[in-house]
């Protein structure tokens, strides 16, 4: 059974304010009596650790990186949304809320999204005060750009490195708390289990990645800010170390996993070049502001892109969606790219991409303007492909980028395990079935700066005087023993194939059957084949080296093992959701124009899956989504 979502009553615009007044508070002098464990130091984790420290809590922050600043939030390029209406183009909290609910194809919790839109304006103020060098107008005021899925300009940015600048801001705020001793920073520490006592989260077990030491850490509450699970696809825009392990270990301890099949395929990435490819690189969606997407009309086109005359180019997004054009939401842009490539109109040596062409923009605005807006992205493209995008169009193709699904949380961001919270990409709540561009940074910082630091007090206040469970308690000892045993087992299998080999093979299955388009036959096949590959993994894995040193094979083995279990659940969730919505496209459920066709009667709910042990499939629990404000309609971007 799912617990109550704790969504406050009352008018939508008042819910958050009322809730803040209604929940319990911990008085400033008592905050120091609580210890909070934060896992992950990306935007959601660093901002939470910093703010909790400022409020007076004792915080232990963990990252598996050598420095908190390396978290993958750093790679976000395009920007961060906020309903500031600085452009005077009709933006408002209500419009950002509405766009996000609609963009998510009506599969998110309205109250959470409204709160997100409300606090978005505070985030920009906060980050500017911290010294984030946002792009400016000549008069010194902040500049904006537009992004997919919106008809207003509400995206704030710092060149093509917005994620980097925001993360540095949050990281610096956290380091300020490290300096005053409120935040204790643990680097190179990977969480490998969650510890639960009497139904409450009480701590974690970690492995020190440089020494192999296994240690327990205890606190009054645990916050998972551990990002998404896009690397289940092997090839994705995620960093190499991004993984689901922390969230998955929590799932196995009782946290429900919600909507795992809601994964986002980003439309503008550099296409795969060869077999050795280890990751895919995103080209910011902001490029769609000025770049025009096209393919040659004839599948057997042999001329180079600059030789194809205007009349023989198929600007498929502009033709099909005149109102939004190249700025349709990500899921729509991705599916249309797949359609033209499947029809044989793909470009590049492997015919696996579409053009993103800046020739018109350069003619219109001049090369200098384009260089100023996107210079670092153009340079990145040139480094990777060896082609000059100022002279020839970029080649792009969709790639896995973000996961909307994640641990189920209530309005307070608490999972189904009391005392365990999930923030940022690790939770499921705000983006429904599709996330709009420039909204991930917004959500990570909203959760960390403005939501969790208030809502966590509601859980902690009645626990004043409780002592954290000591780390020599049998629950910690048992968890440590499990972690050690698992690592020992990886080293003892003595098979023939590396963890990367299995990861790559798993990724192919997930991409083929649980990727951009899904159908019942493929999903059933995915379940069988993932199981078979998983059995092979456990029988034929080869992990060399020792446990008491830096050993990336041990790290990878554990992450891939968890990806296997997740992949199976993704397939089961996708099979169960017999409708198309946002990034989840079931071929059986589409309109005559091949757009996603929702089934609101049967699927206007969150699917939250409950762990039943390793040998029994998870049980589905549902949270019915009610829409008080936004009217459910077929999304149209024409």
């Amino acid at each position: 059974m799912l617990p109550d979502s704790k969504t406050p009553a009352g008018p939508m615009a008042d819910k958050w304010d009322n809730h803040k007044f209604d929940i319990k508070l911990v008085n400033p002098a008592n905050k120091r009596k609580f210890k909070i464990i934060v896992i992950g130091t990306g935007l959601a984790g660093a901002s939470a650790a910093a703010t909790l420290g400022e409020l007076g809590y004792e915080v232990d922050a963990f990252t598996f990186h050598d420095s908190p600043r390396r978290a993958h939030s750093i790679a976000a390029q395009g920007g961060i949304n906020a309903a500031k209406n600085y452009r005077n183009d009709g933006d408002s909290v209500h419009r950002l809320f509405y766009d996000t609910v609609k963009g998510g194809d009506y599969r998110s919790r309205e109250a959470n999204v409204h709160r997100l839109a409300q606090v978005s304006v505070d985030i920009i103020d906060q980050m500017a005060a911290q010294g984030v060098p946002f792009a400016r107008e000549y008069g010194g005021l902040l500049d904006n750009r537009s992004f997919g899925g919106a008809q207003v300009s509400r995206t704030f940015y710092a060149r093509g490195q917005t994620g980097q600048q925001l993360l540095l801001g949050a990281y610096q705020q956290m380091m300020r708390q490290v300096a005053v001793g409120k935040v204790k920073l643990h680097t190179q520490m990977e969480m490998l289990d969650l510890v639960v006592k009497d139904g409450h989260a009480c701590g974690i077990v970690c492995r020190n990645l440089t020494t192999g030491e296994i240690s327990s850490h205890s606190g009054h509450a645990v916050v998972l800010a551990t990002g998404g699970y896009g690397n289940v696809f092997y090839l994705s825009t995620n960093a190499m170390a991004c993984n689901v392990t922390a969230a998955w270990r929590a799932h196995r301890k009782g946290a429900f996993f919600a909507n795992p099949c809601f994964t986002q395929i980003h439309p503008t990435c550099i296409p795969v070049a060869d077999e050795f490819q280890s990751k895919l690189t995103l080209m910011s969606e902001s490029l769609r502001n000025d770049g025009r997407i096209w393919v040659p009309r004839t599948p057997d086109e042999t001329r180079g892109p600059t030789q194809v005359p205007e009349s023989e180019r198929y600007y498929y997004l502009e033709e099909k969606y005149p109102a939004f054009g190249n700025l349709v939401p990500r899921d729509v842009a991705s599916r249309n790219a797949k359609t033209v490539v499947d029809q044989g109109m793909g470009v590049g040596p492997l015919k696996n991409g579409v053009y993103l062409d800046f020739a018109d923009a350069i003619r219109r605005d001049g090369r200098d303007t384009i260089e100023e807006k996107y210079g670092n992205l153009f340079q990145m493209y040139e480094r990777i492909t060896g082609e000059d995008p100022y002279a020839v169009p970029m080649r792009i193709y969709p790639a896995t980028h973000y996961t909307m699904g994640g641990l189920w949380v209530d309005y307070n961001l608490m999972t189904t395990i009391p005392g365990l919270y999930a923030t940022g990409e690790a939770n499921f709540s705000d983006h429904g079935a599709n996330r709009l561009g420039a909204s991930a940074l917004m959500q990570g910082l909203a959760d960390g700066y403005f939501v969790l630091p208030y809502t966590i007090g509601d859980y902690l206040a009645p626990r004043l005087g409780d002592v954290p469970v000591p780390t020599d308690d049998p629950v910690f000892k048992a968890a440590e023993q499990g972690v050690r045993e698992r690592i020992r087992h990886f080293l003892s299998i003595g098979g023939t194939k590396s963890p990367d080999h299995f990861h790559r093979e798993l990724g192919k299955l997930v991409w083929d059957y649980i990727g951009m388009a899904r159908n019942a036959t493929g999903l059933e096949k995915a379940i069988t084949e993932v199981k078979a590959l998983s059995e092979e993994f456990w029988a034929d894995l080869r992990v060399l080296g020792a446990a008491d040193t830096l050993n990336s094979s041990i790290e990878k083995a554990g992450r891939v093992a968890d990806f296997f279990e997740l992949a199976e659940l993704m397939a089961r969730d996708a099979l169960d959701r017999n409708e198309s919505c946002g990034g989840h496209f079931r071929e059986e459920s589409q309109t005559e124009e091949n757009e996603a066709l929702r089934d609101d009667e049967n699927y206007a709910h969150v699917s939250a899956w409950e762990w039943n042990g390793p040998d029994t499939p998870q049980t589905k629990n549902t949270e019915q989504l009610t829409f008080e404000v936004v009217k459910l309609t077929q999304r149209s971007y024409k």
Binding site: A129, Q173, M175, T496, L544, N551
Partner: protein, 258 residues
Amino acid sequence: MSETLDLTLNVWRQEGPNGAGRFETYAARNIPTDASFLEMLDVINEELIEQGDVPIEFPHDCREGICGTCGMMINGRAHGPEKGTATCQLHMRKFSNGDTIDIEPWRAVAFPVVRDLVVDRSPLDKIVESGGYITAPTGTAPDANEIPIPKEVADSAMDAAACIGCGACVAACPNSAAQLFTAAKVWHLNSLPQGQAERFKRAEAMVETMEQFFGSCTNHGECTEACPKEIPQDFIAYLNRDHLKSKIFNRKLAGQRG
């Protein structure tokens, strides 16, 4: 389709911080020119595992030149031969068939080797911890447009803030100095109106923390040359200026002179 290369690699192997390191030679065969340098190492590691040898540990994560995790000396140059490029964005098309490539970890006393090509760069975080922030607790900020910042100032701050903290500047410096890193961090904040209140305290604290770990700058300029973000050396002059001024303007000491 891409062509392929056959290469000889001399790779530094070291089992731990206290172990004696050595070069091992590996043959890299049929490496596509479209592969990145790190993908080439992935291929070598897969072959090592197949042969039953422990793979090479090397630092990497985002593989798109922004996280700052990767970094190694490639033929004696930090991040290798291509200017303004982190190791992860260096592609094999920059090498020729038959090349021999020496691959070593960052060389600096402040960055001890953890294993093989991985080093410990935690002193960089210590510099930030000592003052690399603006004190602006959550909830205290005025409206973001309250304080206009001339575009040129914001752009200059952004040029400094582009630093990815990889440590190449230290590794390339004959003195293992961290001036370019520290200057980038200091100038990012000291150039902005929001950073003025703590300007001199920041410069003083960060320089003094830096000096606990790193060597001194003697203006060789190798740092900018190696920097994957091409952070200009000018920022070091700004750092020195603010550090010197801090000795005069440090408000903590203001009442104690006389």
